[in-house]
């Protein structure tokens, strides 16, 4: 953790391109947004050489055991009011979080 990428790492425009490239290459491996992972296998990821590897399941992401997960942030200029507040409340509600799970990402709550 904290080391640089190898110079041979390929950067592709978008997770969809990465999934496509990995699916067509026998020895391919890559990482990207979890919702795009159709047609490829998940790998267990270790935090370092001593700990054990974890797959990106809902519990592993929520309790932090899966090492390469991150939050998706919304940036607002002020505290949400009016229509923006309604949108933010909808996303954080049960209905919104269910949509998140359905698409393939992991809910915040």
């Amino acid at each position: 953790m904290g080391a640089d990428f190898a110079p041979q790492t390929q950067t592709l425009p978008g997770t969809g391109a990465i999934v496509n490239a990995v699916s067509k290459d026998k020895y391919g491996i890559g990482y990207g947004g979890a919702a795009y992972a159709k047609g490829v296998k998940y790998c267990k990821v270790k935090k370092d050489a001593q700990t054990s590897g974890y797959e990106p399941t809902l519990e592993n992401v929520k309790n932090g055991k899966y090492p390469i997960s991150r939050y998706l942030y919304w940036y607002l200029r002020n505290k949400p009011t009016g229509e923006i507040k309604k949108l933010v409340d909808f996303i954080l509600s049960d209905q919104g979080q269910q949509i998140v799970t359905k698409v393939g990402y992991f809910p915040v709550k």
Partner: protein, 320 residues
Amino acid sequence: MENLKTIENKRQTEFVISKKRFRLSEFIIEKVIFLSSFFTILGVILIFVFIFREALPVFTSPEVKKEASLKLFFSTVTWQPISDNPRYGLIAIIFGTFKVVVVALFFSIPISVGAAIFTSEFAPLKLKEFIKPIVEILAGIPSVVLGFFALMVMASFFHNIFHSTMRLNAFNAGVALSFTIIPVIYSIAEDALNSVPRSLKEASLALGANRWQTAFRVSLSVAMPGVLAGIILGLGRAVGETMIVLMASGNASMLSANIFDSVRTMSATIAAELGEVVHGSAHYNVLFFIGASLFIFTLIINSLAQLVVGRLQRKLAGKI
């Protein structure tokens, strides 16, 4: 006596022609046309100024120079701006552009010059009228479509034939790029070959040369300035092409002589990283520096093309 009269008449006519009547509509149109050309030139100058102003801290600001100075660009091979120890080595990226462009030229020059010779020297009229529009269609294909095609179809195709370690590589991007250059070189070379005077071709045939000897040794030599200008313009176009290399080359900033390895080009580096860079940081300045270098390089290439054409045209005009 008559001579004096003609001189007087001449003076009168000169007087009438030189006196311009002030017409408002003409004045307005002149000024509008002047303004449009003025704004075009102004736009180019302003883009120039903006890019160079954002790239300037690489040369002037001491904090930026600690991370990324002209010396540091060429002292390390690694391009790793996002890390605890940021390094801005440009060697791998410049060589990446070079690799892709060389592959593209290697494929496109024989094809386009050959096609130009064929349609201007050998093809029957019906075939010529069929081929020319199709090459123009090739020019109209958007580069993102070509990049997509290279990413999905061509990469697998070449991977099955050559079994390279990396599926997306410089060869793939170079071949896709050649589709963009072929129409450029073809149009200019074909125009150059068509403007070879017919008398030269007929003279050569009359002296006993056959058709392909005439085509290659006479027509091609005479049209060489135009063909070279086309190649140089194609080169400039290839260097600046972004979308195709972004999708088809794999964007790995590694330095290797193998054309079946992924490469990172200068244009793809800017495209991939400028969206997420911190404004005003050293990384930002370096990306603009790369953009400025591309700008200058294309400027030199186009000026070179004009120079080559001008000089060889004068040489040929002197000879003939």
